[in-house]
Amino acid sequence: MGDTENLNVTPLNALHRELGARMVPFAGYDMPVQYPTGILTEHKHTRAAAGLFDVSHMGQVKITGADPAKALEALVPGDIVALDVGKMRYTLFTNDAAGILDDLMVNKRDRDLFVIVNAACKEQDIAHMRSHLKGCEVEYLEDRALLALQGPAAVDVLSRLNSVMPAMSFGMGATLALGKYEAFVTRSGYTGEDGFEISLAADQAEEFARWLLSQPEVKPIGLGARDSLRLEAGLCLYGHDIDTTTTPIEAGLAWTISKRRREEGGYPGAAVVQKQLKDGVSRKRVGIQPEGRAPAREGTEILNDKGEKIGVITSGGFGPSVDAPVAMGYVASDYAKAGTPLSLMVRGKPLPARTCTLPFITKRYAK
């Protein structure tokens, strides 16, 4: 068991304990990895009904200034200037070698940008933004909680508090009244399901979470199922599938870079990205489907049919909805085509696998 003395807590810490969660240290926070029903049940419940996730450990940041969208484009390859007010975009902080410093969601609002970054990276991200965003104020919203309600029933649950919810399309965000709570709500998530992320005052979070959990469709979901859900959805986990040694192109994230930004550059590592878009990359992130029942975990070596190492798994485990092991990782580009046979070295034995397209499940985002 880890040392829990120096860990930060979210506003829902007491509620997690009351619900019987098993708590683990994660990114400096004391977080629920699972509740008594277990990861399989939590995972399947999220895809069948609605799961409540506490993601308050993530960094919520407000950027204000004369033109924060233009300013932020100096740090990310995403098209923030062209983003409409009320919409959100997934993008990346890159370094001069086009390595990925973090991934983030950017919401364009009337008077600011609202940015969500990873818990483990938030201090460095905030320092990075403060030192580079000319003419902008970067405010860390420490007094906000962040809850995610994910799954096909999420929209019905929140509609009981505000009838506008079904009208939001995926990737939209708005400041809304949810009953007596004022929240910034986006229709988004990290599970491959329809759902919402809800930013609200930390001191209201527990009461709001209790209301959500009082709804028949809603169960609490821990970080264990969050990981298996996002892996089935083919979504990257920072520090595992993407990091400073991987570029957006190698990671299969070229879709996050608009035509204008590919041409104009103007972000760290733009020259590397342009070269990789033109000449290709030596390795690519792919989905990997082990053929047997044995999961292949992060760090597992990937071999070709001659037994030569051609890659490594960066996320791997068991996919409860797929009912089979699932993984993703990087392979030499010659092996990236879906259906290519590979071997995975698990406990010294080569296990057969194939590359596959991501995601492993059909995403069900609201149109």
Partner: protein
């Protein structure tokens, strides 16, 4: 047939020369949902404390260590076919292997039920 336990949460129960080995109910509750087991082929010999099997939950893989030295005479096909049986019946039908022990006195060093229960309280 006394059940004895290791500090790594394996149990072992001797019946004649052959001992049945599994993981404790505490261990299965800590692992969570078991989705895969990697079992040894009969004939494999293991030393006390050496890895004899692997149990995988959704989250992670964990080694199962032999509580005593011996030769694997049988692996439990039922948990290979239905890994969740380890969660449902860790100390009965969810056993892992049967070992023909080479030195039964090794069992004397292991905890009995009362000692194991006391040990769990310290965790």
């Amino acid at each position: 047939m006394t059940t004895r336990y290791t500090k790594d949460h394996e149990w072992i129960r001797l019946d004649g020369d052959v001992a049945t080995v599994g993981i404790s109910d505490y261990a299965q509750s800590q692992l969570g949902d078991v989705v895969f087991v990697d079992l040894p082929a009969p004939g494999k010999t293991v030393a006390a404390g050496a890895e004899v099997a692997v149990v995988e939950s959704v989250k992670a893989a964990s080694e199962v260590y032999a509580p005593a030295s011996g030769e694997v005479v049988e692996s439990n096909q039922a948990i290979a076919d239905d890994p969740a049986l380890v969660n449902r019946a860790a100390q009965t039908e969810g056993w892992f292997v049967k070992l023909k022990l080479s030195n039964k006195t090794e069992l004397d060093a292991l905890m009995d039920q009362a000692a194991y229960d006391a040990y769990l309280k310290t965790l």
